[in-house]
Symmetry: C2
Subunit: 384 residues, 2 copies
């Protein structure tokens, strides 16, 4: 929460919740990543917050970009970055979208199975592009122990299969470029990269035995934002990763990539919301209060799903006594509850009409928000 955001909000008089993002914090985060991992290229995960101002700033700072769709590729190009700075990092792509990305100049693609490799080879042929110029990296499954939000098995394959997927790419004439993994979102254990780097180095060796020389390890994202608990500094992630690389690759350290999303923009944004109602379900004063805000799960706070992410919430009464409450959104949807299993501590003096600030909301909020659920408009966003 920066003074610039506070200043902006003091001068805002519109109705409805909004997210304000401070570009100075984004710049600071980028510099920290660049310093902590000086030999690693930073690919910002555009999906975390695709605001044009964020993309232009990062493009100017020299960042590369991890795009999840053709639309994101186009946003990055519009922000002034060239196509060779873009990775199409989604392992699930329509063949016609791969073709469009190739036509837009993208040459770096994620895969996790042979079918996806074949799509890329066919699309390159159709686009009349030399397949040796098209690089693919294979995502592997990875233990997410230590992550606040461990990932599902949706992306990646087992390491043994990755060798075959990369060989398949090689046989089809593409460049078998490397390996990627993701240690889980909001990863607080800096050692988590070690196990994954061990797998990656085994894949490098097994590919080399087949005559295929990989060059790159994509270290993924997972770099945390500070919510309620404190998190290690970026520098300590850099050191742990460098130790892992040295341990598993010796003096043949590969090219590396990181894909921070949350870690780049999460702490740069704050949402201002309003208390719509404070009530109890019975006259029993011991029963927990319900506090309803004008933003909820469908208005941008989807990451409260299963109460995974607990955002810090500031009010104007934070010096008063606090008591637990169930926190919910404004829609007529019974699932639109933010924190209930573990109630949230808020001041007992909090009242209808009060403003609250939900911090650490620069990532995965604005674009998650529903089009018009219950008639409520999507979350407004300001980049300052």
């Amino acid at each position: 929460m920066t003074e610039r955001i506070r200043e902006f909000l003091r001068n805002r008089h519109e109705d409805g919740p909004c997210m304000v993002l401070d570009l100075e914090v984004v710049q600071d985060n980028y510099m920290k990543f660049a310093r902590a991992l000086p030999n690693t290229r930073v690919f910002y995960a555009v999906k975390a917050n695709p605001a044009p101002e964020v993309l232009s700033l990062l493009a100017k700072l020299g960042s590369c970009f991890d795009a999840a769709s053709v639309a994101e590729v186009q946003l990055v190009l519009a922000a002034g970055a060239t196509a060779e700075r873009i990775s199409f990092g989604n392992t699930i792509k329509k063949e016609r979208d791969i073709l469009r990305a190739l036509e837009l100049g993208v040459r770096l693609f994620a895969v996790d199975c042979e079918a996806e490799v074949e799509k890329i080879a066919r699309a390159a042929r159709e686009a009349g592009i030399d397949k040796r110029e098209v690089k693919v990296f294979c995502r592997i499954l990875c233990d997410c122990a230590g992550a606040e939000w461990p990932l599902s098995r949706k992306f990646g394959c087992v390491p043994e299969m990755a060798v075959e997927v990369l060989e398949h790419a090689y046989r089809l004439g593409l460049e078998a470029y490397g390996v990627s993994f993701h240690v889980g979102s909001q990863q607080r254990n800096t050692g988590a990269w070690d196990v994954a780097l061990a797998s990656a180095s085994r894949i490098f060796r097994e590919c080399a035995e087949r005559g295929i020389h990989l060059s790159m390890v994509n270290l993924g994202g997972g770099f945390p934002t500070k919510y309620l608990k404190s998190v290690p500094a970026v520098q300590s992630y850099g050191e742990a990763i460098f130790r892992g690389l040295t341990k598993h690759f010796g003096n043949r350290i590969p090219e590396t990539i990181i894909e921070p999303g949350r870690g780049m923009v999460g702490n740069a944004g704050a949402i201002e919301a309003e208390v719509v109602l404070v009530s109890r379900k019975s006259k029993d004063e011991d029963e927990v209060r319900w506090v309803y805000l004008d933003i909820g799960k469908f208005g941008g706070l989807a990451e409260t799903m299963d109460e995974s992410i607990r955002y810090p919430i500031r009010t104007e009464h934070d010096r008063d006594r606090k008591a637990p409450c169930v926190l919910a959104g404004p829609t007529c949807d019974s699932a639109d509850v933010l924190y209930e299993k573990e109630p949230y501590m808020l001041p007992v003096s909090l009242e209808i009409g009060d403003k609250v600030l939900i911090e650490g909301t620069g990532a995965y909020t604005t674009t998650y928000s529903a089009v018009a659920f219950n008639g409520f408009p999507p979350l407004k966003s300001y980049v300052i």
Copy 2:
């Protein structure tokens, strides 16, 4: 799935998923509700699908409307219904939104606590409206046994408190109009209304003892759509509700309201989607397949949350052998998985590029869809 929808889809050549809604089915559903509960006014829950064509059709058929926000009130007015046919059914409202609704002519409001009653009284005074013309009904908590999607405790208060809330409304000069409840979404037990009607009749009696004569019971929604399991016919809901009313209110049956949403439009819509990828996580052929569609949790299928709603899915290979698969959406979000805990049976011959039809998707899909998550556009919708 109607022939008209099939015909429409045969002639569609655009890219991307879409939802097609057949108005003839909506009309048929409305007539079934009207016939099954001839003395009950139907308030369509606009949030289920606010498409202007749906609202105009229902307005012409004589339906009333349950609105969750001022934006929904405006949609209903634009569709040609007058304000006295609108209920502002959200128990969580900003005072200035109540004021706007009053100015637009709405006179019927849901509440579940005294603070909300006070907002309505203040707003009526500010709008210069005679408070006796403004009706409030109090929502009570209700056991959701039998519902496929039981509701949280988000809406409603315990019945004993409802008496005090209604008395508070009465003292402030508003019309204490009645009681509402919701027996849980996708309620397959027609007897579920009985328990709630018993509570409602107790509230009527206790209010009468305080000199307050309630007139209305809002029976809520919960009427199911047929997904994979069969559901009772609307007629049997009507009969069960009528029995409950007679049992608990004797020969003084109150005015009644129902608020079908899913039951009105769910089975009128189908989503056409495309298989983007079929893959396995290892070379082990016994391992479950992953099937990735171009629509997922963030593209309109949010109700697959916790795998609550299992939609029927048709493919062009339905005569072939089926095998379990994990079904997932196209985004780079690891939570964007539709069915995994209980894998979904799909034909083994299903291939990349195949179209699939997701049935029963006329309700709670289009407006749930995210603005631009991962760069994917919101779900397209066609009403025919």
